[in-house]
Symmetry: C2
């Protein structure tokens, strides 16, 4: 009910009368009044005027199940929403739900993680009130080696959503980090449970630095937040909902061909290092070349000094711009 009242308040320009809300939701005036009190406690500023009704004055960076639900405009992604004020890690929770058979598109969001992690078991700093920690469950009928393409689509969704929702222009550091001003604002951790031929489920975890004002010493040089880059606060719930909207679009395109044929061009337009010198940290020996985009399977195309183009697979190597992190 809270989600519906919030949605109505947001969709109405002026006041909504208590009676209208009662009629729409088939509940009592007292019930409506109680929800208004709850919303105020969560940080919403609501004006209540006798004979006029209620009006939402200000939507702060509130992140609750109701706020998220009221913003979600997707068809299926994030429609089954599980919100935690605090949890160990949204990936762990999403994997647990997936193992229990939750529907595809189930989205887990937390305000704080006490065991957040990045790739290869690295920890991911996860304070409350400032960041997005979200993980969603996918069940595509594709073999495991195609999973990396899904994660490229997730990077695209973040870049697109950040730009549309906040105006900040970001780029992609291959394969799927979102970067701004040469620093990382988003990391993606994709995990899967699979047989050799087929995926049981994928959990894609996205961490976005939204309103952090500072970072731990060890990542200060390589990390930034959307808020720091813009000089103002950004609403996390809106950004989550927008990311889900765009992921649905990109994921649909991916599923049409089960490769990146339909996404390649747009992905390359987001690629921070396109046509620039990169350094490929191959365990067999580092080398440099010019980044020439990706192929249909998401491999990075690197043109070597001799003109030969190498297709670099995610997971085997790490790629850096020759100046700084990106």
């Amino acid at each position: 009910m809270k989600t519906r009242i919030l949605t109505i308040l947001k969709e109405t320009d002026g006041f909504v009368s208590g009676q209208e809300l009662c009629d729409a939701l088939h509940v009592s005036r007292t019930a409506v009044w109680k929800v208004m009190r709850q919303l105020e406690e969560e940080g919403y500023v609501i004006e209540a005027v006798r004979n006029k009704g209620y009006r939402l004055l200000e939507a702060a960076d509130v992140m609750t199940e109701a706020e998220l639900g009221s913003r979600m405009k997707t068809r299926w992604l994030g429609r089954n929403l599980v919100y935690f004020p605090e949890t160990d890690s949204t990936n762990i929770q999403a994997r647990r739900l997936a193992a229990e058979g939750c529907p595809e598109g189930t989205l887990v969001v937390a305000d704080r993680q006490n065991a957040g992690k990045g790739r290869r078991g690295r920890s991911w700093a996860s304070p409350s009130g400032t960041s997005i920690y979200m993980s969603f469950v996918l069940k595509p009928d594709i073999p495991p080696y195609c999973a990396s393409m899904v994660t490229l689509a997730a990077g695209m969704a973040v870049v697109k959503a950040v730009e549309e929702e906040t105006g900040l222009e970001t780029g992609i550091k291959w394969p799927n980090d979102a970067v701004a001003g040469g620093k990382k604002i988003c990391g993606i951790l994709t995990e899967m449970s699979a047989e050799l031929e087929t995926i049981h489920y994928i959990v894609t975890g996205i961490g976005i630095n939204v309103n952090q004002k500072e970072f731990p010493e060890e990542i200060r040089e390589s990390a930034t937040s959307i808020g720091l880059e813009l000089g103002r606060e950004v609403n996390r719930s809106a950004l989550i909902a927008k990311t889900m909207e765009w992921f649905e679009v990109y994921y649909d395109k991916f599923l049409k061909t089960k490769d990146l044929s339909l996404l390649k061009e747009e992905y390359e337009s987001m690629l921070a290092n396109l046509n620039r010198q990169v350094r490929v940290l191959d365990p067999a020996g580092a080398y440099e070349g010019i980044c020439r985009g990706i192929d249909r399977e998401g491999r990075l195309l690197v043109e070597l000094p001799g003109g030969e183009v190498k297709a670099v697979m995610s997971g085997e190597v790490s790629v850096r711009g020759i100046y700084g992190y990106v």
Copy 2:
């Protein structure tokens, strides 16, 4: 203690005195006597002669934790052994243990499965007393796309163990079914939990038809058991231990190069269809060709009528001999 007593009984040609057993294990005569009674209840035939001691007369097809333990000659694989008279599926149990952080090499064996499954969620008939259902946990530091090579090594271990332990010659139907007389005697289901770049753990499940005398109608044409082919019963515990021994050998070789360079030749010598006509059931259109072995990554090499050799990836297609199942 039971495992140690069983091991000593097996390793001794004649009688072992009760006192020797007490001394070796630091337990009382009563404790030794109790273990002998338990072993008899499990199906062992033990001769007990005053002033001489105990002697193992006959080792039937007993499958218990102690029997398995007494036969295991591996360095690390199967040393942590979990035995179930009945369970849902050994893969499910092994995945559960792996998620809880069990050591690499943990082996789960069951006498009966009530939810046994094959690839792509198909069910796997799992009656008690006649078959092997075993799953083990591996934690190799390899990217997910290399997991299929591990499963090829598992197929080799089964073929080698069956031959060494029972004398029955079997072959491999690519990628990893073991076949005898044109019918399947073994199926392997490999599952993994992974990130894009790295595997958390692999669970390799092996089902071997050992002493079944008949099969359900729907697989009678395509399945057989070792016992049916040989016309006699085979000891399951011995076969499990031998399979583990051989898998250790092959897995070591795999890890040396992280591909099948060191196994390719032996694998091909086991390949039932080598240099024979096969039909590749590609979703994009079936075609025929001659099976020419595998490459270092485990792909099947199929020579097309025009002479071109295609590398077929496991998981994308299914390959059949042009006559019958193999």
